[in-house]
Amino acid sequence: MANPTKNNTGFLASLKDSPSTDEFIKGLWRENPVFVQVLGMCPTLAVSNTAMNALAMGLATTFVLLMSNLLVSSLRNFIPKQVRIASYILIIATFVTMTDYMIQAISVDLHKSLGAFISLIVVNCLILGRAEAFASKNTLGRSFLDGLGMGIGFTFALFCLGAVRELLGNGTLFGWAFFPDTFQEWIVMILPAGGFFTLAIWLLIFNAAKERRATS
């Protein structure tokens, strides 16, 4: 009863059939955490105002996701079912705190612009979701691939948003001017409302592409 691997045998059996590389690929596109699962909306909308912020946030989340997946997976037979959520949160919070210090050490400016959202990685449902739904039931190798794929998919999605928002809202990409000086910035794009608009349009494109693929 305390061993979660013995439950959900149906789910596990279906997973065993799929090749290992699929654990990695699925996060990039088919089960993309932002565009398909619509998880982790808080950082997605809040810190995708520039491409740099989006990339940094994506990489920080990837790191936390990877490490927590590894730890949760290796401890999956040790953690009793009743306290699993508390344990996962503890593990995730640890890696988030570590990331917080590391980003400060890398660049004070970057830490300033990401602000409170680094600490908020703790409550990113993507990470807890992967720990609970995948890492706690799968081997170390698979969990690693899953975390890596999901993390890169998340980073990719954030970058898509950040690039559009920075380009229209500031006329630059990674701080490089893309338009002449007289470019009229779309201020709404840098504001939170712009995040919602951009996300909606990307979701629209993603769903249209998915539908087109399904019909053909």
Binding site: F179, P180, T182, F183, Q184, I187, V188
Partner: protein
Amino acid sequence: MLNKTLNISTSPHIVKGIGTDDIMQNVVWALLPTAIFAVYSFGLSALMVLIATTAACVLTEHYLCKFSGKESTISDWSAVITGLLLGLTLPPNFPVWMAFIGGVIAIALGKFIFGGLGYNVFNPALVGRAVLQAAFPVAITTWYPAFLDNRFSSFSVSTFTAPFMEPTVDAITGATPLSAFKFDHVVTPAYDLALGLITGSTGETCAVLILLGGIYLIARNMMNWRIPVAILVTVYVLSGILHWVDGQAYPPPLFMLFSGGLMLGALFMATDMVASPITPLGVVIYGFIIGLLVVVIRIWGGLPEGVMYAILLANAISPHIDNLIRPRVYGTTKSVKGS
């Protein structure tokens, strides 16, 4: 609408041939005096803004219909109204490329995404304006004085700004009566406001002409008169009370009534048939909420004008208003379960 099968019904057998297209067409006629006055007072620049928004709305509607494999719905005139209304809420010296983008957004995000005419949650023209206000806050609050001598021979400097480029600020700018009150505490006489001898958005200056258009539609039973009446009475009474309490700090009620976009908003935007409630009482509550929000935003808010946000917010709650006052089904005690 048309049903080709034979209908058998009791008398009376007179069928009033009033369809969506008829109403829409009449709204366009009702808006024309205001639009003509806008061109008369602000000149060619205002004409360009109106053309740009109308063209953008019609083209967007046409191509979105085609793209999604439906028949084009531009013949029902609703896109023209959206375009005209949007153009009338913009400053006359607004860059044409921004006005065009506003039109595209109004139709695409305000109407088409929800399923087209009859399904829009918000008034599409106001959605377009709200996005423009958030995206280009400086351009949309740069005003141009009315009745310039060369208004029919030359354009404002900012009208033909290259697409995606920042408009050059006109050497000659004016202040709207509302911003003059908000920032400098100057009250414009109600007489000037009513006749439109002021600076403002292209179509919000002449309150009398807007009223005429509204009365025409109400007389033809094509507009719910309760909405504008509820809004205007609320604004008049609330601002009257405030003015009576402290005449120095709060503007006179007639100034509130005739300034800014209140007339245009109350008569032509809040009355959007799809985005307003349907029950008579619901409509009055809806009008009261808009009036209340207008007064609150204008007097205590950071912005000088609040009609746009007031109507958008009321649009959002209008289905809930209808739900709230839904009459109890006869014989039941509380609200019907499972409905």
